[in-house]
Symmetry: none
Subunit: 226 residues, 4 copies
């Protein structure tokens, strides 16, 4: 099943207002993916959502607000799903590998979301900051477990995150193939000080692909973050 209009479909059972808001967010994802945040116009989003332009402002204060809403919503959904899936993994090497690979896979499973997310990462410092906290937790866990031999700080986390995003970009743009997740995960482990053999083994182990699931639970959160 395609995820096109997923916000709308999950809002089907909610009020009319929620449905329109969802339609706008769905439309916005598409527009953002296509032209980026800066070039996206409110009119275009409204048109894509098949509502009058004035309607947009009933649901969002301005363009920035829908950018935030969409980006935090997507990031939140993916993060939460990953977090759930990793709850029973203790080893930091496994965790970072898993997170990197699955994140890329999920984000690529719905390319528009992937693009929106990629663009948001550079556009919304707050989003990057928040996402990095998850990464940092696992990286520090690895340091505690003695697996990683480099200093874990904001700089390292940024470096780690940029590698993930670059791999995501490669996948989305078609330059990189399906291996991208494993390749970047292996490179990350090496960078962190994991021996090459171990890095390779962990990074290339077969992985059950996750299916992006979207919840309504984070709507409030997304709203709060605007």
């Amino acid at each position: 099943m395609s995820l096109k209009g997923i916000f709308a479909s999950e809002a089907r059972e909610q009020g009319k207002s929620a449905r329109t808001r969802a339609r706008l967010m769905d439309a916005a994802v598409g527009v953002f993916a296509r032209v980026g945040f800066e070039a996206a116009s409110v009119n275009e989003i409204a048109l894509a959502a098949d509502v009058a332009n004035g309607t947009f402002y009933l649901h969002f204060k301005d363009k920035d607000e829908i950018v935030s809403a969409v980006a935090f919503r997507i990031a939140g959904d993916i993060t939460r799903q990953l977090d759930d899936a990793m709850s029973d993994i203790d080893d930091a090497i496994e965790r970072t590998c898993f997170a990197t690979r699955q994140f890329i896979d999920i984000a690529c499973s719905e390319p528009e979301w992937g693009w929106a997310l990629f663009r948001a990462a550079w556009f919304l410092p707050e989003l990057r900051k928040r996402s990095n906290e998850y990464l940092r937790a696992d990286l520090q866990r690895g340091a505690r477990q003695g697996s990683f031999t480099v200093k874990i700080d904001a700089f390292l986390v940024d470096m780690f995150a940029s590698m993930v995003l670059t791999a995501l970009f490669g996948r989305l743009s078609g330059e990189a193939d399906k291996d991208a997740g494993s390749r970047v995960a292996e490179l990350q482990l090496r960078m962190l000080g994991v021996p090459g053999a171990k890095a390779k083994k962990t990074a290339w182990r077969k992985l059950e692909p996750l299916k992006l699931k979207v919840s309504t639970a984070l709507v409030g959160l997304a709203k709060a973050s605007e």
Copy 2:
């Protein structure tokens, strides 16, 4: 000496037209650095260059063209300078380290150029592609010399480049300190398979800072690429 207006100063001995073009490019660098490419307006650039807005179009077809011209020019200058400075270094480990560290230092020595370059990297795929060729050459040299144990291809080069840019961003935004160059170089070497001790030693060795020198040689090239 400050580099403000360096295009103009080097064009002093050329024709009036070349000088005006140079003034526009100098002005554009400043505007791009301040507000980014999308938000930069032609009027603002012309104003900053102290020429009439109509004059802009005598020298550049449209806004995109000056973006390219400026970005390729800056990237070209830095690349060429680095290339020159590295001409007598044979060892790939030394070369990659040197290039990463000096690139960051140079780009930060003139923050406006640094920002313009950083932004251009995401804006102009062609620029990224061209710059990556230089990186690839050294990485492949390392593979041939047996120093690097990972596969060198476009994906790896992208990863390598994204680390450099992320470090540059950290420096420009003030989040990272002066060590950024050494830190990222060390991480890169580890990633490439260089043993940790060796990586650390090479990446942190004291380095003579380069002074950004700008040439007119690439103007034609920049034009050709538009």
Copy 3:
């Protein structure tokens, strides 16, 4: 007792519809006073009245209609009250003095009403016309009594009215002090031909302040005038 919401409180014993209408009018007075008629938005009025914006149109055909309703209502209430209070005064000099001074006092006692009234005077020619009829009656009485030596016609009445409004404006804006009523009354009497000494004596005599009382009697009238 504050007059805030006075329309609503007097409508308490009427039907629900009448109460909602009253709430809207109360809210409108506040909004008009704050931002003027043109800048007042229906949404803002409805919000202030705590009803849905659609509800507005069940009670008023459009924005102009509530402007009229409010203005005529306020003007009518004040006029009627003044009329009552003056029913036993025969002398025209006393009457005009009394009316001018008390009108200003009353309108200032509830500044929001005062502002709304002031603005309405320029906005609704019909309102001015109707109010002027009261003034004219007293001015003609003065002519009959031989107190005023100028010709009483529309022009003179307009002049007389504009002086009252200007004094009201001064009071509301804080530029004029409590004496404004007496001062303008004295000037008016001089203008009408009353000897200076007599004018001064009458205009400055101590006056029992009136308390604004609002009735529902004019609602129908207000409606009719729309």
Copy 4:
């Protein structure tokens, strides 16, 4: 000769920019007179001036700016002309009479200007303030000369000004006839304490009508006041 487009005609010998600016101001006067300042739209002004809407913003920052420019320009022109014409009149009674009557005549000779001025008086406190200074000077002169027996202060000046404006309104709206100037002047003199006979004689004396003359000298002044 009609004064339609007088800004434009006087700018005929200036640069293109000045001519366009003049065209916009001419157009604005007409629009303001017709619908008032608030309801006037920039598009409508531009359309009336037969220029593109974007052109408007080359000459005025926003709507407020052209309102100021037009109002101060008109007020300045009339004031200066009156001032010149009155330079050899010493007697305050004569001066106030002359100013009131001629002001009304001039403002009515070009009704659009008159309306714009009338509306501006309520819209631009600064304009009122500045104009009142002229009135005050003559009123104080009258007090010094022993002609006026009332206290001259801001309140009195406001009252005086409101009478002039009300008379102007009467003339412009067609409610008052040609006598309006004399009538209001007579009323003003009475109000100020001038004996009725003297007031009548002065106010109704035959007067050579002034022809509105527009100068370019005040353009700078108008600009400065924006």
